[in-house]
């Protein structure tokens, strides 16, 4: 690409040249935040908006996010859609199969508190944070693709604000 040919000419006059100093934390978190691979977990209406966000117009790939079909290879799970009482143990199983560091985005009203199914429904789990710990909640029914992208940017900010000592075994 043409850009890489211009880099030496740009770096030469800079004292120190091509050496950059930073902390290990910043590099690790930057790498994590810019390549979150999310698990394709869509149960209901929000799954269609998740698909649209991953398609041509609102592209997830420009944030480094690719979908993976298995929890073993993903670090983010976007729970898009209502979780019912029958589905809840399966969601817990999938979350347990993900390797750390792992993050959860609860997308849509149903996963925050049951959404339109809070009253009068005998089979809906009213909020996904009864089952798994959630990092970012995105309201909406269903949330627009722009809301989902903003939620992912919030998650990236949260990752960059973490400390390495958070992951230390206590």
């Amino acid at each position: 690409m043409g850009l890489i040919k211009k880099v030496p000419a740009f770096l030469e006059p800079v004292p120190g040249g091509g050496i950059v100093t930073t902390s290990l934390e910043k590099i690790l978190h930057h790498a994590q935040a810019c390549s979150l691979w999310y698990m394709l977990f869509g149960t209901a209406c929000c799954a269609i908006e998740l698909m649209c966000t991953g398609a041509s117009r609102y592209d997830f790939d420009r944030l480094g996010m690719i979908f993976r079909a298995t929890p073993r290879q993903s670090d983010l799970i976007i729970t898009a859609g209502t979780i019912t009482k029958k589905m809840a143990p399966r969601l817990r199983k999938i979350y347990d199969q993900m390797a750390e560091p792992r993050y959860v985005i609860a997308m849509g009203g149903c996963t925050i508190s049951g959404g339109p199914f809070y009253y009068d429904s005998y089979a809906v789990e009213k909020g996904v944070d009864h089952i798994i710990p959630v990092d970012v909640h995105i309201p909406g029914c269903p949330p627009r693709p722009e809301s989902l992208l903003e939620g992912c940017l919030h998650l990236q900010k949260k990752i960059r604000a973490q400390k390495l000592s958070d992951w230390q075994e206590k």
Binding site: G42, S56, R57, K86, M87, Y119, A123
Partner: protein, 367 residues
């Protein structure tokens, strides 16, 4: 060498699987790579919509019915509003009927574009997914311009529609239809004569017509098996009898025919929308219906031709402002019921192709 001793084993496909469209679990009994028996296990998305509707007024039920079948939620709005209108004997103004037909057919095109993208993705082709959803964005822009929502519209209300179309709707709609009509040639060129696509879909998953009728299968799956029945023509609702269009029918009943039939349906929908845009009259968009709508006691079963088959709602009213019973019936319920009876004796990869071309949406099954 003597015969090798083999045993059948059970493999679980789902509920979280990239090729089951939603949370459907299929317990497959396999003999090597061949599927011997399929047992669908459902209920992972049972949200009790029917129980909730018994405690909501009629206008409050319509957004709930949106979530019953969210890919074509204009049809769910239409079937519920039509049932309430038949119970109370309400007549819908002309302009509202034309707007309803335009929105229903645009929604049918959007749903078939998702089918095209997702089916191709299930069989390994990733490019059609991006193409299909790119064209769908034109239609979703039109919906957003009219009612503000991209997915669950709550647009068709009892007595008419909720909002009139803005002035830029008609030119943008014609432009979108022209783009989609042109791109359809690209889609056909990409997949129709592709040798890999033909190997994977032609001759796979033959559904005989009498089995389909016995299990209550309807819609494009039934028409691909040779049965010529379409509710828009044979049991007309709204103003479909004023337009000049054809019902596409194919006779082989395999996956390839089901795929081709849906592309044919997109072309017929474009024809209907253009005729509706040409004949759109001026006038009211909603009949006078009180917010505390109380239809007289009675019962009705109303049905529409959805992009997945016959979508029906049975409502029984006891004269109050809340329905006594709402039972929804979706086309995917019967197709999933019929799957174990024609989807066996195939390889697992062929089962994925059959499941994808049936175009099943789980909330219609589980409610």
């Amino acid at each position: 060498m003597g015969k090798l001793k083999t045993e059948e084993f059970v493999v679980n496909m789902g509920p979280v699987h990239p090729a089951t469209h939603g949370v459907c679990r299929l317990m497959l009994t396999m003999d090597g790579e061949k599927v011997v028996k399929i047992e669908p296990v459902i209920g992972y998305l049972h949200r009790a919509i029917e129980k909730i509707c018994e405690n909501r007024t009629y206008p409050q039920c319509i957004p709930l019915m949106d979530r019953f079948e969210y890919v074509t939620s204009m049809s769910t709005n239409q079937v519920f509003a039509q049932a309430a209108e038949r119970l109370a004997g309400i007549e819908v103004p002309e302009r509202a009927e034309y707007l309803r037909v335009i929105m229903l057919e645009l929604n049918r095109i959007a749903s078939h574009l998702i089918f095209y993208g997702v089916t191709a993705m299930d069989l390994g082709a990733l490019t059609p997914f991006l193409y299909g959803l790119r064209e769908r964005e034109y239609i979703v822009d039109l919906f957003e311009m009219t009612c503000g929502q991209r997915l669950t519209y709550n647009y068709i209300r009892v007595g008419g529609v909720s909002r009139d179309i803005p002035p830029q709707f008609v030119p943008k709609c014609r432009e979108a239809l022209k783009i989609i009509g042109d791109k359809l040639r690209d889609y056909e060129g990409l997949l129709n004569e592709n040798p890999i696509w033909l190997r994977r879909t032609r001759g796979i998953g033959h559904l005989p017509a009498d089995l389909a009728i016995s299990y209550g299968v309807s819609g494009p799956v039934l028409r691909a098996s040779g049965v010529d029945y379409d509710i828009r023509r044979d049991d007309p609702y709204s103003i479909y009898d004023r337009f000049d269009w054809e019902v596409p029918v194919r006779h082989n009943g395999d996956c390839y025919d089901r795929y081709l039939l849906r592309l044919d349906e997109i072309k017929q929908s474009i024809k209907i929308i253009e005729q509706a845009l040409d004949g759109l009259p001026e006038g009211d968009i909603k009949a006078k219906v009180s917010p505390n709508f109380k239809p007289p006691a009675g019962e009705v079963y109303s049905r529409v031709e959805n992009s997945r088959g016959e979508m029906g709602v049975y409502i029984q009213s006891d004269g109050t402002n809340k329905p006594l019973r709402v039972k929804c019936r979706g086309g995917s319920y019967n197709q999933l019921q019929a799957l174990p009876h024609f989807g066996t004796d195939v390889l697992v990869a062929d089962l994925v192709a059959i499941f994808a071309t049936l175009d099943i949406i789980l909330p219609e099954v589980d409610r």
